[in-house]
């Protein structure tokens, strides 16, 4: 049973517009959430994270929002750039119990010039 779900396999956005990638989770014990970005033929790279005590974390063009009551988080990229085209993985963990990272299936973002 998937504990971390990314229901959109792909997303296409115009350059300069906002990209919104969504992620849902089922395990209420998760207390730390992350986004990783992956280019073809490369390993994933850490992008941004958020603790469950916050509802927003921002880093430059990237903002992650957490809605604990809905068990939902989203990654906003503003403005989107062609170099953002990649697969984005949502991941979650239970930091308190030294849990492992649980990854979603990923969403492939295409930013068109």
């Amino acid at each position: 049973d998937q504990q971390v779900k990314q229901n959109s396999p792909s997303l296409s956005v115009q350059e300069g517009r906002i990209s919104i990638l969504n992620c849902d989770y089922t395990n209420s014990m998760f207390d730390y959430f992350l986004w990783y970005k992956k280019y073809p033929a490369e390993g994933p790279t850490f992008l941004i994270s958020i603790s469950s005590i916050k509802d927003k974390n921002e880093d430059g063009r990237f903002t992650v929002f957490l809605n604990k009551s809905a068990k939902h988080l989203s990654l906003h990229i503003v403005p989107s750039q062609p170099g953002d085209s990649a697969v984005y993985f949502c991941a979650a963990t239970t930091r308190g119990s030294q849990g492992n990272l649980i990854f979603g299936k990923g969403t492939k973002l295409s930013v068109k010039p």
């Binding site: 396999p9 490369e42 390993g43 790279t45 850490f46 030294q98 492992n100 990272l101 990854f103």
Partner: protein, 115 residues
Amino acid sequence: NAGVTQTPKFRILKIGQSMTLQCTQDMNHNYMYWYRQDPGMGLKLIYYSVGAGITDKGEVPNGYNVSRSTTEDFPLRLELAAPSQTSVYFCASSRTWGGSTGELFFGEGSRLTVL
């Protein structure tokens, strides 16, 4: 900086063969991990290590073995390869436990096909 280096990048195995995927990191990280990614799926943890001489099973350990004799190296051994082990394998490392900070450093991956 090399970071995390995996070899080989590609390999085709016949059913029943064995092989070792090599992983080395030059960041002096205590924690190392092996993940696999099946097509259209997320990464799943196979084995991890919290330091030299200490390893433990992850979510999908069956059919694999690991060892950690040095801080730098964390090889993954596949015994009696099966088609279900066709996947892309990622080695990763972190300074602190990955579930605490989430910031894992990944290698480029090793694509394994078992025919």
